[in-house]
Symmetry: C2
Subunit: 495 residues, 2 copies
C-alpha cells in the first residue's frame, strides 16, 4: 500500500456521550441556576467555585456507583520535569471537591461553612439515551455542624427552591430517612458489614419497584422477574426478613405514627434509637416552620445510593406523571437528593467534620419543567434589519444602533444580501419578531417598511380570521418612528 | 522495609496551577459575565455551550503558542471495549470548539451563525504567579460571512461591552490591524513563508516594547538587551528592513492618514491593497456609527499571536496605569482580542467558511476593575440570628424564615452555641451586617436585641465621633418589629 501523504479530515463530532447546548437550552438552564442561587444566597450560603480538575488522590473513591470504585472518572497522568507523574481527574460531583476545599482552607473559612456551588461534573460512564457524561449539578452544603437544624434547613430550602423554579406545591415531595435507623434494623437482624448487608441494602432500594411481597421474595429464596428471569434472593429465613419488612412498611399517617413504627422496628439498637431521635428533631423543626407532610415527609424507603452518607438522607421527587419514551404514564421521579456525611473531610485531616448537603440535578429538573410546559418562551430572536442596498450598510447599522440603544435586540443581516428571500428565511430561522426593510425609495422618502413576522406567521396559519384584518403584517412608517413602532409590535406579541 | 498497611492521607491541595474561587470572587465574575452576555444578546448573538471535552482530532493544533503545537492541552486516551483508544482533551479555547460545532450542525444553524459562549478553558502550561491553567473566556463570533460589517460590529460591540462592565470611555482603546496588510509588506520585501518570515513577525510583535530603533536592530544584526544579553537579529540588510519600519510607524493622526501611510508601505502587493481596503471599510462603518478614534483606531503594530487569523485583527487595551508587583507604574494592557479566521471550519468540511470573533479575558478584566476600585461591594453576609437557648431553635428558625420571606439574607447560627463570643466572631467572619439576640428574658417579654455590626465596627474605629451618638449599635425592639428594624439598618448601611 502506498503511504498516505495527506491527513484525513477530522470528524466534526462531540466525543461519545457529550453534547452541545444551543440558545434557549443554555439561557433557560442559566435562568434556573440563577433562581436556585438566589434562594441559596438568601439562606446564607456563599458561592464557591472549585477547579474542575482535582488530583485523583484528593477525589478518592467515593463514586456514586459503589460497585465500581475504580471506574467512572476521566483521569490522566501528568509528568513533571523529573518524569514523576501525578494523576489528575475531572471532578465527578461537587461534594468531593468541597471536602478537599474545606480541608485545605479550614483555617480561613468560617465554621460552620455554608457554601453553594454549581457547574458541570463529568462521569466516565457508558453513555445512553438521555445519559450524558457531562452534566450540571447545583449543591448547597453546611460543613462543620452536627445540628439537625442544618439538615432540616436544607430540606426546607429544597422545597422552597423547587417552588421558586416553578414546581408548585403538591407536585413535589421531599422524603427524609436516616441511615442510622436502617443500620439499627440491620443490627437487630444481626447482619454485619459484608456482602449480606450490601445485598440487603440493594434489596431495600428496590422496594419502590417490587413492593412488600417482592422484597420478601428477594430477601428469601428469590423472585421471578416480570421479564421471566429468576433473580437470586439473599437467602434469609422468613422470620429474619421481618425487621426489614417492618422498617420498609413503617410509614404512617403522620410523622408521629411513622416514628412510632420505626421505634418498634429498631428495638433497642442504640444507633437505631439515635437515628429516630434525629428524624424526630428534623420533623419538629420543619413542623414549627410550617413545612407539613404535603411538602416534606419521613419515608423509610428512601435509601440514596451514595456510600458516604452517615445519617439523615433525603430525596426530592416530582409526583406528577409524564409519558415515557414508550408513551406510558410514569411518575417523573427524583430530581434532587442529599444527606449527612460525617467522614469526607476526615480523609484529609484525620478529624471527623460533620456535614450535610443537597444536590439538585439541574438537567432533570429542566426536563421536568419542559414536560409540564412550564418553561418561559424566552427564545425570541433579534429584529433583523435587511439589506436592500449594499452601499447603505452604514445606514442599516445606524438603525440597529438605535434599536439596541432602546434595549431592543437587533442586527443587520450580514450574509450575502443578493437573494432577499434568504434574508427573510434567515429571520425566520432566528425566530425574529420583526424585519425592517429599506431600499433607495424608502431612504429617499425618509421611510422604512416594517414586517411583523409573528403576525405574518399567524395570518399564514389562519388567513381568514377577522381579527388580523385591523393589523397589517407589513406597513410603512417614518424612519424617525422606527423604534416606537417596533416596540409596539414587540409589546403586542408578548402581551 | 516493612510493608505499609495504611494508605497515607491524601493531600488537601488543588493540582498545581489551579485555584478555588470564594464568595464575591465567584459572584463578581458571574455579574460581569451576565453584563457581557446581555450586550452580546442585544447585538443578536445566541448562546452556545459546547462540551468541555473534545476529541484531540477535532481540537487540532491551533494552540495560541505556535512554537509548541503539540503541547498545551490536557489530554487522555480512552479505550473502548475492543481496546481501541480515542484521545480526548479539555478545550483550550472557545474558538476551536465553535469550528467543530458549526461543521457538525451547519445544516441546522442559520447562516450567518452568530453565537456567544462563556466558560472555563484549560491550558496545560507551566503555572506562574497569576497564571492559571483554568480560566474563563467569553467569546462572540459571526460565522459564515465575509462582510467587513461583521468585523466592524464586533469592534463596536467590544467597546460597548467594556463600557457596560465599568471601563469608562478614555480608559480603553480597541486597536485594529489587518494580517493581509502585514503579508503585503512581507511580499514587498520578498520574504516567503518560513523561518525568516516567522522571525520578522516575532520582531514586529516586539515593537511596543523596544520601539523603532529596537526593531531596526532586531531586524538587522541584533540588539543588546536591557539585561545585558545579546539578542541575535534576523540578519536583514538595513534597506530591506525599511518596509517593516514604514509599516510599523504608519500610524497617522487619523484613520485616513494611517491608511495613506499603509498604502505606501504595501506598494503594489495585491494582498496588501486588499487588506487596506478592508481596514478602510471598517473605519468608514465605525465612523458612521460614531465610534471615533477615542474608542477604536487603526494601529499597524497590533499582531495577535494566534496563527489562524487571516484578515483583520483587533485588541482591546486598557490605557490607564496600575502599579505592578514591584510597585512600578505600567499600563494595564490587553484584556480582549480577536480577528478574522477563514480556515478553521475548512479543516472539517474542506470548504472555507469565513468567520470573525472576539474573546474577552474575563479574569484580567476583573483584575483591572479591582485595581481601579470599580467592583461593587456586594459581599455583605447574612443577618445572623444567634442561639442563646438551644431549646428555642424552632423560634430562631421562624425569625430567619420571616427575614428571608422579606427578601433579607439570613441564617440561624448552626455551630455549637455554647460560647456566645464564637457566634459573634462567626458573624464578623461572614461580614454580617446585623446579629439578632434573644434569650429567655426577651422571649418572655416578646422582644429581641438587634446588634448593628457595621455601625459597631465604625464606632470601634472612631469612638469619639459625634455622629454615632444618635444611633446605638445595639438596641431592643419588639419581636413583631424585627423585619422593619433590620431593614432600616440595612438601608442605612447601604445608603
Amino acid at each position: 500500500m502506498a503511504k498516505q501523504k495527506k491527513q484525513p479530515r477530522p470528524k466534526a463530532e462531540t466525543p461519545k456521550g457529550f453534547r452541545d447546548y444551543f440558545g434557549t437550552e443554555v439561557t433557560r438552564r442559566k435562568h434556573m441556576l440563577d433562581q436556585i442561587a438566589a434562594v441559596y444566597h438568601r439562606y446564607g450560603f456563599d458561592a464557591l467555585e472549585s477547579s474542575a480538575v482535582e488530583t485523583v488522590e484528593a477525589l478518592g473513591k467515593f463514586l456514586p456507583d459503589v460497585d465500581r470504585p475504580n471506574e467512572g472518572v476521566f483521569a490522566w497522568q501528568e509528568f513533571d520535569e523529573k518524569g514523576n507523574g501525578d494523576w489528575m481527574a475531572l471532578r465527578y460531583d461537587l461534594t468531593a471537591p468541597l471536602a478537599r476545599v474545606y480541608a485545605q482552607h479550614r483555617n480561613d473559612l468560617p465554621t460552620p461553612y455554608r457554601r453553594y456551588a454549581m457547574g458541570p461534573v463529568w462521569r466516565n460512564e457508558k453513555p445512553g439515551p438521555g445519559r450524558f457524561r457531562q452534566f450540571y449539578q447545583c449543591d448547597a452544603d453546611t460543613v462543620g455542624t452536627s445540628s439537625m437544624a442544618a439538615d432540616a434547613e436544607i430540606c426546607a430550602m429544597l422545597a422552597d427552591t423547587l417552588e421558586t423554579v416553578g414546581i408548585p406545591r403538591g407536585d413535589y415531595l421531599v422524603r427524609v430517612n436516616n441511615r442510622k435507623v436502617m443500620n439499627g434494623v440491620l443490627e437487630v437482624m444481626g447482619v454485619e458489614d459484608g456482602p449480606v448487608r450490601d445485598a440487603v441494602l440493594r434489596t431495600i432500594d428496590k422496594f419502590d419497584k417490587v413492593g412488600e411481597s417482592g422484597v420478601r421474595e428477594l430477601l428469601g429464596k428469590g423472585r421471578l422477574d416480570a421479564s421471566g428471569a429468576y433473580i437470586d434472593g439473599v437467602g434469609l429465613e422468613p422470620e429474619n426478613a421481618e425487621p426489614v419488612i417492618a422498617f420498609l412498611t413503617s410509614k404512617g399517617a403522620d410523622a408521629a405514627e411513622t416514628l412510632a413504627n420505626l421505634r418498634a422496628a429498631v428495638g433497642d439498637s442504640a444507633i437505631g434509637v439515635e437515628g429516630i431521635a434525629e428524624l424526630e428533631q428534623i420533623a419538629e423543626l420543619l413542623a414549627a416552620q410550617g413545612y407539613g407532610p404535603d411538602r416534606i415527609e419521613i419515608d423509610p424507603s428512601v435509601v440514596r445510593g451514595l456510600g458516604y452518607y452517615t445519617g439523615p438522607v433525603f430525596e426530592a421527587e416530582l409526583t406528577f406523571e409524564i409519558l415515557d419514551e414508550k408513551g406510558r404514564k410514569r411518575q417523573f421521579g427524583s430530581v434532587a437528593g442529599g444527606g449527612r456525611y460525617d467522614d469526607l473531610v476526615a480523609r484529609f485531616t484525620g478529624q471527623k467534620v460533620p456535614a450535610v448537603g443537597v444536590s439538585i440535578g439541574v438537567d432533570r429538573l429542566l426536563a421536568a419543567l419542559e414536560a409540564k410546559g412550564r418553561l418561559s418562551n424566552d427564545g425570541q430572536g433579534p429584529v433583523v434589519v435587511t439589506v436592500m442596498d449594499k452601499t447603505r450598510l452604514a445606514d442599516y447599522q445606524a438603525m440597529v444602533g438605535e434599536l439596541r440603544q432602546a434595549g431592543i435586540r437587533a442586527e443587520v443581516y450580514l450574509g450575502n444580501p443578493k437573494n432577499f428571500g434568504n434574508q427573510l428565511k434567515y429571520a425566520d430561522k432566528r425566530n425574529s419578531p420583526v424585519a425592517i426593510i429599506a431600499g433607495s425609495d424608502e431612504f429617499d422618502a425618509g421611510k422604512i417598511q416594517i414586517k411583523d413576522l409573528v403576525l405574518g406567521a399567524k395570518i399564514a396559519e389562519s388567513a381568514t380570521l377577522e381579527e388580523w384584518k385591523e393589523r397589517p403584517s407589513q406597513f410603512e412608517c417614518a424612519r424617525a418612528d422606527m423604534v416606537a413602532k417596533v416596540r409596539e409590535i414587540l409589546e403586542a406579541d408578548n402581551g
